[in-house]
Symmetry: C2
Amino acid sequence: MTAQPVVADPVGTGLLRDPGRFAREVLEPIRKVVGERGLITDRGAMQPHMVAWRDNWAGRVPAVVLPADTAQMAAVMTICAATRTPVVPQGGNTGLTGGGQPHADDSEIVLSTARMNRIRGMDLDNDTITVDAGVVLQVIQEAAAEAGRLFPLSLGAEGSCQIGGNLSTNAGGLQAIRYGTARGLVLGLEVVLPDGRVWDGLRGLRKDNAGYDLKQLFIGAEGTLGIITGATLRLLPRPEATVTAFLATPSPRHAVAWLRRAKAALGETITTMELMERRCLEIAAKHSPRVQDPLAQAYPWYLLAELSGQGTEEDLAARLLRVLEEGLEAAELLDGTVAASAEQAAALWRIREGTPEGQRLEGASFKHDVSVPVSQVDRFIAEADAALTRRFPGIRSFAFGHLGDGNIHYNPVQAEGEPAAEWAARLPEVNRIVHDIVASLGGSITAEHGIGRLRLEEVGRYKAPVEIEMMARLKQCFDPMNLMNPGKMLPPAALHRMP
Amino acid sequence: MTAQPVVADPVGTGLLRDPGRFAREVLEPIRKVVGERGLITDRGAMQPHMVAWRDNWAGRVPAVVLPADTAQMAAVMTICAATRTPVVPQGGNTGLTGGGQPHADDSEIVLSTARMNRIRGMDLDNDTITVDAGVVLQVIQEAAAEAGRLFPLSLGAEGSCQIGGNLSTNAGGLQAIRYGTARGLVLGLEVVLPDGRVWDGLRGLRKDNAGYDLKQLFIGAEGTLGIITGATLRLLPRPEATVTAFLATPSPRHAVAWLRRAKAALGETITTMELMERRCLEIAAKHSPRVQDPLAQAYPWYLLAELSGQGTEEDLAARLLRVLEEGLEAAELLDGTVAASAEQAAALWRIREGTPEGQRLEGASFKHDVSVPVSQVDRFIAEADAALTRRFPGIRSFAFGHLGDGNIHYNPVQAEGEPAAEWAARLPEVNRIVHDIVASLGGSITAEHGIGRLRLEEVGRYKAPVEIEMMARLKQCFDPMNLMNPGKMLPPAALHRMP
């Protein structure tokens, strides 16, 4: 068994190393397809597409292409395939792992969906909406709301992320405990394939077993198998009532016990169940005067819970209060407050929303977006805290996240007074400690942010060789020239590992 | 572009044409793995695995193998791969399209999961259950119920179908309007691959974006890419209250209008929403004295609706009654009754359950398991009825099914007095008329039953060449020797169509 690459390494195989031929054989044909508005070659104008908002990936490409519709995207991809020009599909550029960021060596061009922003239609009896990939998530949420429906995908970047990116990364977010991740909200997809052909899978069907469910391949594939250009999405009943509460609990273990009780009593009305430790609230309050502790005394852990459903808020709040009282009696909860108005609910949400920003201002934190079975959340946090403190005394960890999904954002920050450079050098060791614990508990080292470039090397450590090989097979099957977002998602070794 | 087969045709390439070598090189090594209890070669004893319960597929194979666990299944598959012996994975043998049925030419062996029937474990804080592929669906439902949880997959064959088959066919059933199809209930899979290796993807995670979501490949693949041997499944809160109602409505269009109203008012409490025409009730009552019309007069169409949720039945019934009254006022509904006891609810369910059996006793019906957008259900039934009546005067159609999913079982029966042989000859034309209408409305010709052998030729007519090619690529990628359930799922032409 020789270690031959099974997917071509495209760098240098195209025309990108020859600027004159590249301009003639790639850029000019693309310009004819997309027009002047659809092609950016000025370095300054390309800059927003080159830099990610948080993680400091900085790319460098000779061109950013912005097709206006699916036909243009297909024509551009046909040119790229013929000239073996690697492409980086990009949506709202709000990702956290560099999946939508080009490399910095002029070896790729960016294909942006930003101009593909039409809502193609809604079918209210079918509870579906069909959109271009470049429609901003919040625009879809608003269109659904205007029609008396709910599109439940909800996350911090919703004002600027695009649905194509949300689907390509299988976005999770704040309401997954009830509505699942982005994958479950998709009924149909339209995809431009690596050879430039269009697969029209824009069906609005809730049951369709006529063949392999091909759309699943492209959801969460980070643009490595094709470019999503359109989607038909499920809409849900719009809840009539919402109740928000902020609860104190002794530990994540107690929080899980109360969540179990709450699920039995409240069913699917539980829409959000966010866990955070005291330090998250403190740091959010320290950096924003609008964040305040709503409870009279300090507690070690908190839950931000939101229920929603049909009926009245009084009914929903009464049902919640009964389960809160049971939780207090069982000592699963220590205290709590239920928002009596939309303003109060917004104030509670600001605690959760202020947590990432507070951490950013507090110092350099190492981000981990992990998941474990819900039953293992307590053990994960305890073991990670203990292992890191043993190794790096004074280290401060910030654990918060989506308890109902077992998805914890676990972000250690340097000890107070530790020099930044020393801390920065510790990243690989910190990652190794945290992710080894995650793996030992049957978890995932990237729950909702994806692999992108950030976890590319690490993911190979935590996956069985047979799984890496299956991933490589899929990539080979659909993109044998490795033109689609090369250097993302698949560990480099994977492409050389197949028999 | 030459039409070369991209996936091998296995028939005759293995040892099956040489009984002596087959016994020596395939059967004896398999016997060593599975023991006497795990190998059937007696024609009579194999018979239950050869005949499907409804559709009269009759297979003939030299052996049925029943591994006791995943390791045995993997060892058997390794032998089959080495000897190029094609296999037919089989669960409870309750499928309706022949997907689990072998061909009748001794060209394959059957690999049954019937002895793999352990519940491996439950994690109640994580709301998951992990099971062998051969566990009967009802056993999982009961284990969940004993633990105070719900496993919501529910279908007619639940007392004998196995979960591995349910997942391999992405089963739908009666509660998909609320809980989706089988696909959405899977968190992790264990699969024996065509080369005999095991992929252990038995994760219990609600968010995991570390790589392609490989389990999606095997769900709904009808055993053509690998054999599912275990699964980790989601459990849900067990509803405290259930309310069942039987409603009369003027037409499917009115039923859809009322469903829209009901979803807005009742949200996810709507658990079942079955549509049927009067003729279904009549035929069920004609053939079973236990089926009775619960309403005082006859109406053209009916809905069987079930709500469930947390809280009391009084509350749930009161909410339903309000929406019923609105529906009556708006003339979307004509009449209705709400079950006042479990006995009454069971009586209402018998109408729905008696419909398929009544049809079977009434004459030879042509089954269609189609889906269209919910908004197109009315149009589909009207157009199909009209087209068939034009072509075959006196034909009687039976339309019933899962309105909330747009999934209609549309089963024309011969005109009274028409000779059976004449009617049987009309099947291809009837299929063509019905399925062309489905396709024109953006629907699927096999909503929940799968392709199997029944729709193998037809499916090629309704899929774009690029989609057929993508399916063939996947098959080639994972099963290049075409050993896994050959002659199912992929139209024969597909395997010759790739560039």
